[in-house]
Amino acid sequence: MFWDKKIETLKPDELQELQLKRLKKTLGLVQHVDFYRKLLSGAGVKTSSIKTLDDIQKIPFTKKQDLRDGYPFGFFAVPMKKIVRIHTTSGTTGKPTVVGYTQKDLDTWADLIARNMTMVGIGKDDIFQNMVNYGMFTGGLGFHYGAEKIGMAVIPSATGNTKRQIEMIMDFGVTTIHCTPSYAMHLSEIAEEMGATLDSLRTGIFGAEPWSESVRQTLEKRLGVTAYDSYGLSELFGPGVAFECPERDGLHIWHDSFFVEIIDPKTGERVSDGERGELVVTPLVKEAMPLLRYRTGDITVKMEDGCLCGRGQKIARITGRSDDMLVIRGINVFPSQVEHVLLKIPEVGNQFMVYIDRINHLDEMTVDVEINREYFSGELADLARLQKKVVKELRDALELRTTVKLVEPGSLPRFEGKAKRVIDRREAI
């Protein structure tokens, strides 16, 4: 099934023509952003220098750090009166990355989500329970508006209270769910404990963190769904950038809306089709916050084979990252964020270790931190207060619940050269 068959199945030459037209338009829009005026003039690139799609390689990359440096609104290309929504993603140094949307952006975004959901056969008759965070995280409202656009019955259940989630699935006859794969695993266990069979479920959309084929098999068996992988990032609207079709062999990335390059993260050179590298995306339809050659940090590969469904070139499921970003319960975390928080608390040292485990299918993050000798009063209550304070500061900065362990000064490993402060003990998925 197609939401927009013409655009989803454009022939290569028509697609390239559309991409070039939209790229030129985007180049016009970025002139309203100081960062891009400087970037382009520094590289000697004028709008007229981009005559073919290959000319995009003359433009330098945009990195996540550039967006952080533009905090809060440095990358907005439209006046604030045209902005109708703001989302943020966690940043590495306490300041988040801000993304803005015009009404047209929200419409475009909802349309992309509608394409994805229609592609896997979900329609007006479906009842959709959206079990992700509805706040600053783009996964909640993103899917919400896309599903409403299709005309589905949307239940904005958000996260938490798993038993209630299961009761609603049963009582409302929910057919489609969206959540992180780890939450889905958790949900399936609780459902089993409750003896809930979840007979009405047919489709599961899982995203925001990487997951394996074996997780897919387990989820499909336990929840009775067909499971689809969803990919997106807030800088590119949010979810909806790429999605699996019923073939479930790679993700369709929407080439009319996102110009895709795969580069060697070390050299910045393009790799050939079939070679792994970092996904670099130039959004072609964004209005409030246009970006050029944005380095996503995600590692994938352009797949060479065509797809039976008739849509365009696919990318492989994301297998890792080119930087040190962690994805914990769907939330992006950089080790430097933890460091930044600890630096602000004098009672603890600056050395730390982060351990990530998967307990009952949910990611758990433990931070070991040394107490500072000078602040040790000898009182247990002071230590307990300090522990709570660190937990709270981390939660405020990361929007993530963590376990904080106070350890003896000098007991954590010191690193010469590149520090290895994160031990990810989650099984490879």
Binding site: G378, E379, A381, L383, L406, V407
Partner: protein, 144 residues
């Protein structure tokens, strides 16, 4: 009244809650020929504080510090209790009636009866009340 002579220096040692930490502390004190007169362990979420009365607090402090332990001194008082039913009640009631809060406490029973070690919120006030009530406070010199 000179209350200072009744103020006893407890050493408090931060310790992670894992095997071998108490052994490491005890070994260090043993090496320095420091005798532990009373001690207790308080534990919280993943860590604890070892509290001890020793015969040479300064030496214990320096030794543990040199080994990397986090050590602090805490002022406590020691009260002799009757080593019989109701003994603890007598002492606790004196402080309760005086509005002095006991933050924590531990006890030992020695040759000359039972002794209650108290960490209280108002040390001076506690010493005065206990003295006035006729109960026996142990002087610092008994320990170190």
């Amino acid at each position: 009244m000179d209350t200072q002579k009744f103020v006893i220096r407890q050493i408090s040692i931060f310790s992670e809650n894992r095997p071998g930490r108490l052994a490491a502390i005890a070994h260090a004190l043993g090496e320095e020929k420091i005798n532990i007169l009373a001690f207790s362990i308080a534990e919280a979420n993943g860590f604890g504080v070892v509290r001890a009365l020793v015969d040479h607090p300064e030496r214990a402090h320096d030794k543990l510090l040199s080994l990397g332990f986090n050590v602090a001194f805490t002022d406590v008082i020691a009260v002799r209790m009757k080593d019989q039913p109701g003994g603890l009640y007598e002492v606790a009631k004196i402080l309760g009636d005086a509005g002095v809060n006991i933050e924590y406490s531990y006890a030992y029973s020695g040759k000359e009866g039972a002794v209650l070690i108290l960490r209280v919120d108002q040390v001076e006030e506690a010493i005065k009340k206990i003295k006035n009530s006729g109960a026996t406070l142990l002087e610092r010199s008994v320990f170190h």
